[in-house]
């Protein structure tokens, strides 16, 4: 009888236990200003990857901003407090998205010369007879291939990039003249996008399998809790690898996936990066939601070069060139002109050396 009674009690207890997950799965934060603030501060505190690299005292940020928040405050006022808090991170991968505004810190290019004017490129260099292949605008300029790629968000197929590198690598002899001396890849004002696109494009210039970057992921709530570096490699892709002289044009508006692309390209012996430093963006951003429905994102990984340099603040060019005021007024792109000259010079040296 005791067994039966015990059994009955157990069954009734289990029945009562069922459906009570409300008691276990509780909301950590409510939809009020203080909880929204605390939710964001805590999540960023535990997951953001560049506190120490940038020397940011996140606790001080809390102390400075928490008094500005009280329940019942206007939504736009709360948005401004949160935006101010995130602004301190100095990171283009950090945004707060509300229905009425998007917070950002775009100082990574606003504080620097633009060094690019697409109108000049379109009217004075591409002119009328350029080709549009997928997201790429391209043509030959003075026997040098020129490819402009506006955004790594614009996808392309393997066959498209195969076509491009094959086209400008052609050593077709026409009246004893080599058609293409080299290739310029212009990624200025390219704000990033898909890393897959960056890797696919870079793989056409890889002479061999190369260790190009190291990635570290957050693995704990501490500001320095990271995994061991994970090596990233690029190996030759597609049917053809371009091994002629390549110049990659950059400015401060090169960000995120473009930053990755430029850093990868610097690993190849036939590639030179020319222009201004890239804007940066060396961490993969992750997204979160707030109790009031707003969303935000922030960097959660660290990328370093093989030598261990953090690329969060950008990748320096091999040859620093700015567009001069005179050239700008004359409708000339100084950086592109320098790249053309460099490729021609290299070609001449190779030709003469070969002779």
């Amino acid at each position: 009888m005791k067994l039966v009674n015990g059994f009955l009690i157990a069954v009734i207890s289990l029945l009562a236990f069922a459906a009570c997950e409300e008691a276990f799965i509780r909301e950590e934060y409510e939809d009020n200003a203080v909880d929204v603030f605390n939710s964001m501060w805590t999540t960023v505190d535990e997951n953001y990857s560049f506190f120490d690299f940038k020397g940011i005292d996140w606790d001080a940020v809390y102390d400075a901003n928490r008094p500005r928040v009280e329940n019942g405050m206007r939504r736009d006022s709360l948005f401004n407090v949160l935006a101010d808090m995130l602004f301190v991170l100095r990171d283009g991968h950090v945004n707060l998205q509300a229905g009425f505004d998007l917070s950002r810190n775009w100082d990574w290019y606003l504080d620097f010369p633009q060094n690019f004017n697409f109108t000049v490129i379109e009217r004075n260099y591409l002119a009328d007879d350029y080709e549009i292949t997928g997201p790429f605008l391209h043509r030959a300029i003075d026997s040098v291939g020129y490819i402009y790629y506006e955004s790594f968000e614009d996808d392309f197929s393997e066959s498209i990039v195969d076509y491009l590198v094959t086209l400008y690598a052609s050593r077709i002899v026409d009246d004893d003249t080599l058609i293409f001396k080299g290739l310029i890849i212009d990624v200025r004002d390219n704000g990033g996008g898909s890393l897959n696109n960056a890797n696919t494009l870079a793989s056409r210039f890889a002479d061999e399998r190369r260790h190009v970057q190291n990635w570290q992921y957050k693995n704990g709530p501490g500001h320095n809790d990271f995994t061991e570096p994970v090596k990233k490699f690029i190996e030759p892709g597609g049917n053809f690898q371009y091994n002629g002289p390549v110049v990659v044009l950059t400015n401060r508006s090169c960000y995120s996936a473009t930053n990755f692309f430029v850093q990868i390209m610097k690993n190849f012996p036939n590639v030179v990066v020319m222009g201004d430093s890239t804007g940066g963006g060396g961490g993969l951003p992750i997204n979160r939601e707030l109790p009031n429905g707003w969303t935000y994102r922030f960097s959660s990984t660290v990328t370093t070069t093989v030598a261990g340099e953090n690329i969060e603040d950008g990748v320096a060019p091999d040859i620093r060139v700015d567009i001069t005021e005179e050239d700008e007024q004359a409708g000339r792109d100084t950086i592109l002109e320098e790249a053309l000259e460099l490729i021609c010079r290299v070609f001449d040296e190779q030709t003469n050396g070969g002779a």
């Binding site: 069922a18 909301e27 995994t227 109790p291 959660s300």
Partner: protein, 328 residues
């Protein structure tokens, strides 16, 4: 002992003041109370009847309690099917799931939604002393944080269980059969956050070894054969595969260069037990025998999961399924 008598005796022994017998002395002995209850029907002294000798019939709660008790006693008093016939059957079913989860790896918010369910499985009973079940369940639905009006998380849940149990005791005069054994449980959760980019896909897998128990009660009611059962399992040892701390990628797959998915999968998980992983599932089902011995089956399951590594995740679901069991 008559089952009704047993239940009533149990009720009175455990309840110092039965809520439905207002006005009765607290010192009345349990036997007299049983007698009182046994006479409810014949003597029309139900508290539901206004003016009855014992009941006041005034409180809705007391009425509800009384109804529940009567229904329970009725169910327990119908003619039980004594023999546990052997059978092999497969079942298919469809239903509805109400899922909830909280996963700090992805969000500081709690999510809830709606999902459709499909179930299937095989049930074997070669003799009256053992049972084997293989059950599969697939859920697909949409979820959102409580704060939002729109669904922003796609929800996929796949569960597979194998259970082997032996009958250890027949109780309530051989009308209720108690099975105890073990089960292997696997659960796969996939949450896709449509608002997210690099961390949009959150996937996790749990494979557990659990003690399991089942109670089976067969009976006839209104000249129809039914079988009611309750089953539960509680994983003791679990291999859990969860995303890394700061990304939704699995730890073993952070290095893209590796091409050893099996090794990477096992590196992504860890063996854990009740101190870090708690999961509890209980299922109530009612089977109705058709004339050809196939059965219609109504099932309700409540499932709760809590795992604290590397970051706290909690998930629960209510699931109701109606299906058919075919003998073969």
């Amino acid at each position: 002992m008559n089952i009704r008598s047993f239940f009533v005796r149990y009720w009175y022994e455990k309840s110092p003041q039965p809520p439905f017998l207002k006005g009765e002395s607290k010192n009345v002995n349990s036997f007299s109370r049983i007698k009182t209850l046994d006479n409810f029907k014949n003597e029309s002294n139900s508290p539901l009847e206004k003016g009855g000798r014992r009941g006041t019939g005034k409180g809705d709660l007391k009425k509800l309690t009384y109804y529940c008790l009567v229904v329970t006693i009725t169910l327990l008093s119908v003619n039980p099917i004594q023999a546990q016939e052997k059978f092999r059957s497969f079942n298919i079913g469809a239903g509805y799931t109400l899922p909830k989860f909280f996963d700090r790896s992805s969000s500081s918010l709690r999510y809830q939604g709606h999902a459709v369910s499909a179930t299937g499985g095989f049930h074997f009973r070669e003799d009256s002393s053992t049972m084997q079940h293989i059950d599969l369940r697939f859920d697909y639905g949409q979820m959102s944080a409580f704060a939002f009006e729109f669904a922003d998380v796609e929800y996929v849940r796949v569960e597979g269980n194998y259970s082997y149990q032996k009958r250890i005791r027949d109780i309530w005069q051989n009308r209720l059969h108690w099975f105890v054994g073990g089960s292997i449980n696997s659960l796969y959760n996939l949450w896709i956050f449509s608002n997210y980019s690099n961390n949009s896909v959150n996937t996790s897998l749990y494979v557990s070894i659990s003690p399991a128990t089942t109670l089976v009660y067969s009976f006839t009611l209104w000249n129809r054969k039914f079988r009611a059962s309750y089953s539960a399992y509680l994983p003791l040892l679990t291999f859990a595969v969860r995303p890394s701390y700061g990304t939704t990628r699995l730890p073993g797959f952070l290095d893209d260069e590796r091409d050893e998915p099996v090794a990477q999968f096992f590196e992504s998980g860890s063996l854990t037990s009740l101190n870090k992983f708690f999961r509890y599932s209980n299922t109530w089902s009612l089977e109705y025998f058709l004339s050809n011995r196939n059965r219609l089956r109504l099932t309700y399951e409540w499932n709760y999961l809590r795992y604290s590594e590397p970051r706290l995740v909690q998930a629960a679901s209510h699931n109701i399924v109606i299906g058919t069991m075919f003998n073969f």
